[in-house]
Symmetry: C2
């Protein structure tokens, strides 16, 4: 049988109230502290957090809802958020929504039923209605990577991120640049495409042609097909920017299959492991994923303590352009044209 306060009371003669006080950092006299510690050690006692949660109305548990788990971005988020929250005594219940808005809504209900004290979410899409059960119960929510109106959010400066890639390419002499990005149905892709359009206009004076930024499926396959589509245009781009990790990976695969004189310059997004594997070393826009996670964790902890401003907070972090080997971004002489 597992020990409870009652067993400690039996061994120490103290009241439940005093024992509770001890376990909650209240004032207890030295000799009594020792009595409790001794009894607890003998009993292998451990506080029952379920009972505690019932009475105190804090389960000391938070939920993390991910659009998918299988990405370096998301595992890093989980890992960091979990680490920080466990320090603060919170358990982290993880839920993978498998890219499905419906199951995302279901998962939020599930978590609310589990009485989580807060939620961190990397949302599937734009619709925020799935958070209603949380709002209704005043469970604080922090969104990562996607800006959610009315919700605390931690995001990167997507426009500046893409602009930094475009700038490197135009500085290297490129005038026709393609973008591999997903459809405008998610905040992230919308921002990145808009950032691309603005940056190209600012640097070349012209808006990019529509076929240079047609949406692709956001996946490795999408990146592969997208790059091939771009290089087969009648006026192909001399450089391509990828707006996400999967697209970068797919585009890199397509690159590998091309002769080196046909390869456009390529600026990818976000994956460091990739960078270690590919030679020549690729040029990448990298997100401060750890920081994104930590900021989200801190923000949530604030909310859990009832702190922070009344209105929703938005934290915007900067990205870094990791410049790779020259050949990955410089304008190549157009061999075919010289023939």
């Amino acid at each position: 049988m597992v020990a409870t306060y009652k067993d400690i009371r039996r061994l120490t003669g103290l009241s439940l109230a005093t024992i509770s006080k001890y376990y909650n950092g209240g004032n207890v006299l030295g000799p009594n502290r020792e009595l409790i510690e001794e009894a607890a050690a003998g009993l292998d006692y451990q506080v029952n957090n379920v009972a505690r949660g019932l009475r105190s109305r804090r389960s000391m548990t938070i939920g993390v809802v991910l659009d998918q788990l299988n990405s370096t971005f998301n595992t890093t988020i989980v890992s960091r958020v979990e680490e920080r929250l466990r320090e603060a005594g919170y358990g982290t219940i993880i839920c993978d929504a498998r890219q499905d808005a419906h199951s995302q809504a279901e998962v939020v209900r599930f978590l609310i039923g589990k009485m989580v004290d807060g939620i961190v979410v990397v949302p599937v899409g734009d619709d925020t209605s799935f958070l209603k059960p949380a709002r209704h119960r005043d469970v604080p929510v922090v969104a990562i990577d996607r800006l959610m109106p009315g919700t605390d959010s931690v995001v990167i400066d997507n426009r500046a991120a893409i602009a930094s890639a475009v700038q490197l390419l135009t500085d290297s002499g490129h005038t026709t640049i393609g973008l591999l990005a997903g459809p405008d149905t998610t905040y992230t892709m919308r921002e990145r495409r808009a950032g691309f359009r603005d940056a190209v206009r600012a640097r070349t004076g012209l808006l990019p042609r529509v076929e240079l930024l047609t949406p692709e499926e956001v996946s490795i396959e999408g990146g592969y097909a997208g790059l091939r589509r771009l290089i087969h245009l009648s006026a192909p781009p001399t450089a391509v920017v990828c707006a996400n990790y999967g697209l970068t990976l797919g585009a890199s695969i397509a690159q590998n299959e091309l002769g080196s004189d046909l390869r456009p310059a390529l600026v990818g997004f976000d994956n460091l492991e990739l960078a270690r594997l590919i030679r020549p070393r690729p040029t990448l826009v990298t997100q401060p994923i750890d920081k994104l996670a930590l900021e989200a964790a801190e923000l949530l902890l604030q909310r859990l303590n009832g702190e922070g401003p009344d209105e929703p907070v938005t934290i915007i972090l900067d990205t870094t352009l990791m410049v790779g080997h020259e050949s990955t971004y410089q304008l190549k002489p157009r061999v075919r044209m010289q023939r």
Copy 2:
């Protein structure tokens, strides 16, 4: 204020016992069912799992302890285990032990304090004492990937896995084969090295020389350094087997930097994403990760229902050899020797 049974009682006139019965699938008359459903909908009622857990002594929560989160293997495990257990109503608390045995022990205590009903663990090392708090409270534990004496375990047939790689290589004409594996301090590496040794002897009649299977650090760096060490031996292997994903990745990077005539044949371990990126298509031993996770989840669910045999269960799954492009495993003419 959040609704409780008492609110439903107020609206329906039924007793708490009946309402409880309704929510636990007991027999309740049709009209009363409807009354409850109506009231619950109006109140946006949701069962409080914390209170339920206190009384029923099941928190409907399990813990997953990982040696690290940042690997495809582990994220797949988590994702599948979580999916299956959520179907059964369990929440999954995740804990990353960051490769540290001490923090792994701490994490188990933490989970026990959170009153988890069961634990899935991908252990850091061999020592099983960190599970003591769980055993002491009869919390069932299922280990994945590492065989733990006295604990239900789901593992792959490590010896056969490596043997299949060795067989392909010897069949292709190789007689000197190197192994990149970690130290014998973990079950997995011990088995894979033993499997290698046995398979080489069975196929060539000789034990491999020690310098062909010296332990490396289990990491990308270790794989990189290890491959370079092997090819600089006075009698270098013509083929190398990698016993783990990180080692494979590192070895691939080292491969990429070599002239194609110097590259040994390479059989890697376990990563499919890698396989999509690298050309020529690599040869890999792949684990049935999904199945590993599902078997573990089912086993744990059995234990949670008090089912299954009295003694610990060990489930051993087979791996598959994914044969890549010929050039990755065939014996090359030794160019240097012919000069």
